[in-house]
Amino acid sequence: MKNALGREIPERIGERKLRPFKGAFATTPTAQKASRPQKTVKPGENKVLSSIEEAIEATGLSDGMTISFHHSFRNGDLLVNQALDACARMGLKDLRLFPTALFPVHKPLIEHIKNGVVTRIEGSMNGPVGAFVSQGGKLREPAVLRSHGGRWRAVEAGDVKIDVAFIAAPQADPYGNANGIKGKTPCGPITFCTVDAMYAEKTVVVTNDLVPYPAYPFEIQQGWTDYIVVVNEIGDPESIASGTLMITRSPTRLKIARLASEAVRASGYLVDGFNFQGGAGGISLAATKFVGEEMAKLGIVGGFAMGGGTRLLVDILHQGLVRVILDGQAFDTAAIESLREDQNHVIMDPGQYANYDSRGCSTYMLDAAFLGATEVDLDFNVNVNTHSDGQLLHGIGGHQDVASGAKMTVITIPTLRGRLPVIVDSVTTVTTPGEVIDVIVTERGIAVNPRRENLKERFLAAGLPVRELKEIKKEADRLTRPPRKPIFGDEVIALIEWRDGTVIDTVRRVVGWE
């Protein structure tokens, strides 16, 4: 069947009947939320175990079950590999892995896929695991990629039943309260997996820093936690930034950032109470910096800035340019420190900021947001998931959630990466539909979605270089011969879910080249 964007979606995958994407806000949930078994821990009971193996034993984890992890240590995570090694040693098979995201550090997972320890993955795969899975025939069922909010929704809705949630906690107490901003190796908020802790059959907090009761703030609560395991290492906080945090020095990228900030200024949204999302990529980071400078110049005091937290956002808070930062994750140590010390730097979870099936999202309060893309097309659709060669590349992150919510979603992209065009006729994979993308800013000009005629008029009035997207594309295409295109077969490698649980696109196996 075809979805609303004309993308071919299978009727079902295994036992799961798929729902095609109908539009950004086209569905309404009707069911009750999922639940977990009731349980009572009585006074004096011990919840601390001595090893991951012991926890696997105690939780009754067995073949075919689902285990989950968070990615707040990003490329410094050490728990996923430890836990899967333990599962392999204990002879477990056919597990479904449900991480919030995987990174290059999780390359050893490939062996566990080959050995049948892991046969299904639902979660973002950045790096070698994505490349491996993209070859096809590696998993029993297609991978499922969801946004931050989409993953939360899937757990609440019971689309994914977690059997055991393993939660890497930089600080925890013996009763199972835990947080990510303190301890020996803080990584920033660990609230991506709050929903796991609340809905999993069994919740296991794994820490390298067990402190006397109570460990706070209560990002993870004792009432959700079945067991606590103490290990030597859970992650390397030096790696959380994974190289994304340098403000670009490239004149081309700085020009894009400058134009993006000028678009915000001209949009009419840049007034007192302005709420925005700061990006972490090179261009978005620079654009955020320029917007901050603009606010200072105009004497504007914003409402909230939404993270991932960075030193840059912390500086903007300290300068009094916003009242508060809302953060679901931290990208550097300055952000973590600020979360600990500044009560106007607030931890939030994806249920609060991004969940479609909820009674409100923080992203819906955003005026402007800067997001990236690996490809965009002439319908303003955005791809962040796959490379132009069809390989799985990145997770969705909060892309869909933020783009749906912000009054003005700005995609900042260079028109070429090396020899590869970024503006294409039709994106390899749709992550986020054009209906929620307002502006695309490139070094060759600004394209405004025809749905936003009012923005276009404002930009023109401000003298900004507004151009048709296809004109910008034509200019960039003159510089390189078009790349070859992959031919896709029938085998579905991954499903891309829209944030409401419908399927917006599939990633299929590459079987040849045009």
Binding site: P251, T252, K255, E443, G463, L479, R481, P483, W513
Partner: protein, 388 residues
Amino acid sequence: MNVEDTIGSENKRDCQVTVTSASSLEVQIEAGNKKLVEQGIRQVIEETAATLKVKKAKINVIDKGALDYVIAARVEAALRLAFPSTNPIEPHVSRVASKRDRPRRSRLYAPGNNPRLLVGIELHGADCVLLDLEDSVPPVEKAAARILVKHLLATIDLPEAWVRINPLSSYGRDDLAEVLHSRPHGICLPKAESAADIDELATEITRIEKELGIVEGSTLIMPIIETAKGVLHSEEICAADTRVAIVAFGAEDFTRDLGSKRTQESLLFARSMIVASAKASEVQASDTVYPNVEDEDGLIAETKLAHDLGFDGKGAITPRQIAPIHRVFSPSKEEIGEAQKIVSAAQTGEARGIGAIAIEGKMIDRPVLERARRTLKLAQELSGEEPR
């Protein structure tokens, strides 16, 4: 294989091309994203070889994300090195000659041998882009750089394209012969010291213009004055030829020549001399570059000084310097308003046959009126450009 046989580099946005002998045309490509880009790169290589009529060679290319024109330039350079009798590629370029007096607030330098720094050079709003074959290019790369600049000029639209050649006594004649195929708007002559230097260059340009069927006299000249002798002879340099539309000052070489330190005081005489020489021949004057790219305040202060001294523009060594330079050299709203008042008062005066006019009791004499007209003309020419 010795170094000279390899053209280009393995730096980002460049490619490295090596040619060896073979009995037919063989192409070997190494590239990131090979599956996606190999076919396109191969087409460029084969078309370049065909244009050069090379049928027997093994061409080995290591691509690091080079644009098509870079690949074509590297392949041409490598094939001409391997087969010295090969004629250069003559791109089809139609370019409208530049007006002598168009606004030239900024002159952005870009090294002619570095594709990474040339990417997007057309996008930063510089009034003139100077592709450099002189100081930024080491001798071993001169040949490849002039071919790269030729291909760039044939592909990328620049508002005004200049090539800084080497002195005619070294590589300058070869530079001219190559780059004039792509019809740059103008040629910068470094270390200009006399009218004879300009005559020699103009004669050579005229010869090549005739040969290539370019409208005679359409290629402008920008002498760069950067020696004591050049400063003292700046009057004859500016007056030497109608091709001379703008003269630039180079402070680094000048202070070296003088044995002085670079201070605003030590440069004052040269700057004033150059501006006066330029204005006497209706030539524009462009100030030297500001070398500290991190110091925007210093750049603005020096640009204001140059503006006050009568310069029309200033050199830039990074795109980041363009916006501050343009802010200083573009008339402000207040200046435009003032100029409009003066010009319209003069028109009213003329209509009534009154010679001397006054605004708010202040006499407006002829030079003030001329300046007001220039301000309005500049404002008119700059209208429609992006803000900042």
